[in-house]
């Protein structure tokens, strides 16, 4: 009884504070607008107040679910009590916030001076175009009821573990289906694999042709970030070296390509495919330059040094010192674009090329992971001292990981510059490094499917959720926090390679079965 009240109180205070925060930065309005967009109820940018109620209901549901999750397997009335407590507490906080801001704005106070996202129009919307106290009461009632509903819903789903039991049954059914003799024969049949690959290949070929240039642009960005993620995954995911300046290699790749192909400032006009190769080589050399002196550092120290390195590269590109070479802050325009049978690459060609490279990248990363090299990396990640005593040249292995990672980034950089036909120093801020690192972590350290999913979630979704433009970082941060609490191992954690015991009679036929 006491615990459930305490949990309710805690959930209520947390969500109440979250509500106030979201309110003050104007996110409640944005959320309502988005819901209107999704439901199609916005009329000429006019958002109906019902959408505000839906936003509140969603918030309240989460409050209730959180309150209920604190009490495990408890009675229905306990769950509801917890939900109601949480709802009331958050409702009271919301009541206060709305009443205070509402009264102030009705009284003519210039709220916008301090809270730039709350213009009078928004404030009126948040008040349901009525008096502050009436609006505040609505908030209180609404949050309480929806929290109650959330707790009830959570209780129903967890009642006798229906939900989790159903999920488990489904999982067992699916996995037993896979293990079924006939099915597994088909799956492991090389012909079947070939057919599946062919179908996927055809789909990948035709998708860019059909879905239009907007999607090609978004998916192209995702593909570039998959390449970056694959590279950083080798460094961070496999060998466990926290490198925060990964953008440096991306930048060197992009600039090498741009300077070698653009008419200004040098007008070298190198063959584009050679330029791509040059980008990879230069990025790799940059990796060597960075790696040789610093890879003896461990953990935090390495992170700080590489963080600095990333910034140094960007500032060098911008600096007066190198303006003659890099064109300074203006960046390089008219970056070369490849030809395809005499036609300049269009968005579809770029998409095809990127998909091909992503597949090759995945292939290389997978093979490396399953080899002695990959095992050495993971051993270093797990315990560097012991890895060394086991005979692994840790320094050499770490350099190799950094070089391969840098090569991926160089390739991605060249394609990035070529596709945008432009590259400037502001494309290579710290945020890029952090984005890529988040892709690796959110996807699951050392997991290849994780990199792909991570890139879609962190680069693809934000592109689609244009409404969230201003709040992208907020959502990003919240997502990371939630991820780390709910699923610290990542969306698709790395699976260990499954080894089959070789049959003793015919050691020559021993096979390693690899399961990702």
């Amino acid at each position: 009884m006491k615990t459930i009240l305490k949990n309710g109180l805690r959930a209520g205070i947390t969500f109440g504070i979250v509500f106030i925060f979201l309110l003050l930065i104007g996110f409640i309005n944005v959320g309502s607008t988005m819901i209107g967009d999704i439901l199609g109820t916005n009329v000429q940018d006019q958002v109906p107040v019902n959408n505000l109620l839906i936003t509140l209901a969603i918030l309240g549901l989460f409050t209730g679910i959180t309150a209920k999750s604190g009490c495990g397997e408890c009675k229905w009335w306990m769950a509801l009590l917890g939900g109601l407590t949480a709802g009331l507490v958050s409702g009271i906080l919301a009541w206060l916030a709305i009443w205070i801001t509402g009264t102030l704005s009705v009284g003519g106070a210039e709220l916008q001076t301090y809270l730039p996202n709350l213009d009078p129009e928004d404030m009126a919307f948040l008040r349901f175009y009525s008096t502050p106290s009436a609006a505040a009461n609505t908030y209180l009632i609404y949050l309480s009821l929806s929290s109650l509903a959330g707790a009830g819903l959570a209780w129903l789903l967890s009642f006798k573990n229906w939900f989790s039991r159903g999920w488990d049954t489904a999982k067992t059914k699916v996995s037993s289906w896979f293990e079924d003799k006939n099915v597994s024969d088909v799956i492991h049949n090389p012909w079947a694999t070939a057919v599946i690959l062919a179908i996927v290949g055809v789909a990948l070929y035709f998708l860019p042709l059909t879905w239009g240039s907007y999607w090609n642009y978004i998916m192209g960005t995702v593909a570039i970030y998959i390449l970056l993620g694959l590279g950083l995954n080798i460094i961070v995911g496999y060998s466990g070296q926290l490198v925060l300046g990964y953008v440096a290699f991306f930048a060197t790749g992009a600039y090498t390509f741009a300077l070698l192909t653009a008419p200004t400032p040098h007008g070298i006009g190198l063959n584009l495919w050679l330029a791509v190769g040059a980008s990879v080589v230069v990025s790799t050399l940059t990796g060597l330059l960075l790696g040789l002196p610093i890879l003896n550092l461990r953990g935090d120290y390495l992170a700080i040094v590489t963080l600095g390195f990333g910034e140094i590269i960007r500032i060098l590109i911008k600096s007066d010192l190198l303006t003659d070479i890099t064109n300074g802050p203006k960046g390089v325009t008219n970056v070369g674009q490849p030809n395809w049978f005499g036609e300049v690459f269009n968005d579809v060609n770029y998409m095809h090329l990127l998909m091909l490279l992503v597949l090759i990248g995945l292939f290389i990363a997978k093979r490396l992971k399953d080899s002695g090299t990959g095992r050495a990396w993971i051993a270093i990640r797990e315990d560097q001292t012991v890895a060394q005593a086991t005979g692994i040249n840790t320094y050499g292995s770490k350099i190799l990981a950094l070089l391969l990672g840098a090569a991926f980034a160089g390739l991605a950089g060249a394609l990035f510059a070529s596709r945008n036909q432009f590259t400037g120093p502001e494309d290579f801020t710290l945020m890029v490094s952090i984005n890529v690192l988040c892709i690796v972590i959110v996807g699951g350290m050392g997991s290849l499917p994780g990199v792909v999913i991570g890139a879609f979630v962190l680069k693809g979704l934000p592109e689609l959720l244009r409404e969230l433009e201003d709040y992208r970082l907020l959502v990003f941060g919240a997502l990371l926090v939630v991820m780390m609490i709910v699923r610290p191992e990542g969306l698709w954690p790395a699976a260990s390679t499954h080894f089959k015991q070789p049959s003793k009679k015919q050691p020559s036929e021993a096979a390693v079965e690899v399961k990702q």
Binding site: G372, T373, I378, D383, T390, S496, F499, P502, V512
Partner: protein, 271 residues
């Protein structure tokens, strides 16, 4: 006389002002089971770390089959044929049992990362052979069927044995075991004793071990070296050690006369 696998001369290792190992000589004969014993903090593990290349001793030298180890990087020491286990188990926890053993084989594998990508015939052959060997070792230590279990999910005794298997995977000439029976019950300890004896016989390997359990020490050692406060205070066969006055003092505490004498000695001692 049999050849010496390890010959340490006047080895001194100090941390700041503390001489953890002081002027110690040690000879480990080929195909023997030698033990180092001593009270806590006597410098046993430090000496081990010097032999396995973790530490570089300030003074003296350590020869492995007449080849000096001083200053060799740790992974080179492993290449030469010295493998070790740890007092507190240090497996690669996230990796499976088989992967742990495969990492142990690393020094014996010649494949490069380019070959790993290309999967050329030589690579495939070598990898297959490595996996076969790993499973053989897994069977040998009695963990058949647990190959794909992550190491940190294995029971304690299995982890100890897996650590030995990882060390054996590099086909070492000398195996260093740091307290192989720590935390084991009498039955597990007996199994471990039999296992270590069998190891020497079936694999033609020299073993140097640190141990606190006197029953183990007296049972399996050919030769025992006793350390106390970083100095060697005794050396010999188990029976000799059991009757060595200094050793008894170090373990049980000296009588009043000896205590005062030892105090005087310590005052004048150089380290």
């Amino acid at each position: 006389m049999t050849k010496a696998v390890i010959e340490a001369r006047n080895v001194t290792k100090q941390f700041g002002g503390l001489k953890a190992v002081c002027d110690v000589d040690l000879v480990v004969p080929e195909n023997s089971i030698s033990s180092i014993i001593g009270p806590n903090g006597a410098g046993k593990t430090t000496l081990f770390n010097c032999v396995s290349g973790f530490y570089v001793p300030e003074e003296g030298e350590i020869l492995f089959y007449d080849q000096p180890l001083n200053g060799l990087p740790t992974h080179k020491v492993s290449d030469l044929g010295i493998a070790r286990t740890y007092q507190n188990i240090r497996l690669f926890g996230e990796m499976t049992a088989i992967e742990n053993i495969l990492v142990g084989e690393h020094t014996r594998l010649k494949m490069s990362w380019v070959e790993a990508i290309l999967h050329n015939p030589r690579y495939i052959r070598e990898e297959k052979e490595a996996v076969r060997l790993a499973f053989e070792l897994l069977d040998y230590i009695g963990l058949s069927g647990l190959g794909n279990t992550p190491a940190h999910n294995l029971p304690y005794g299995a982890q100890r044995r897996l650590e030995i298997a990882r060390a054996l995977a590099s086909q070492p000439a000398l195996l260093l075991l740091d307290e192989p029976t720590a935390g084991m019950n009498p039955q597990e300890t007996d199994e471990m004793i039999a296992f270590i004896k069998d190891l020497r016989e079936s694999r033609d390997i020299t073993i140097l071990l640190i141990e606190h359990d006197m029953r183990v020490i007296m049972d399996i050692s050919d030769q025992i070296t006793v350390l106390d406060y970083g100095r060697k205070i005794g050396e010999g066969r188990p029976a000799e050690i059991q009757s060595n006055q200094k050793v008894i003092e170090a373990y049980l505490g000296p009588g009043a006369d000896a205590l005062s004498e030892r105090f005087k000695r310590k005052k004048n001692a150089s380290c």
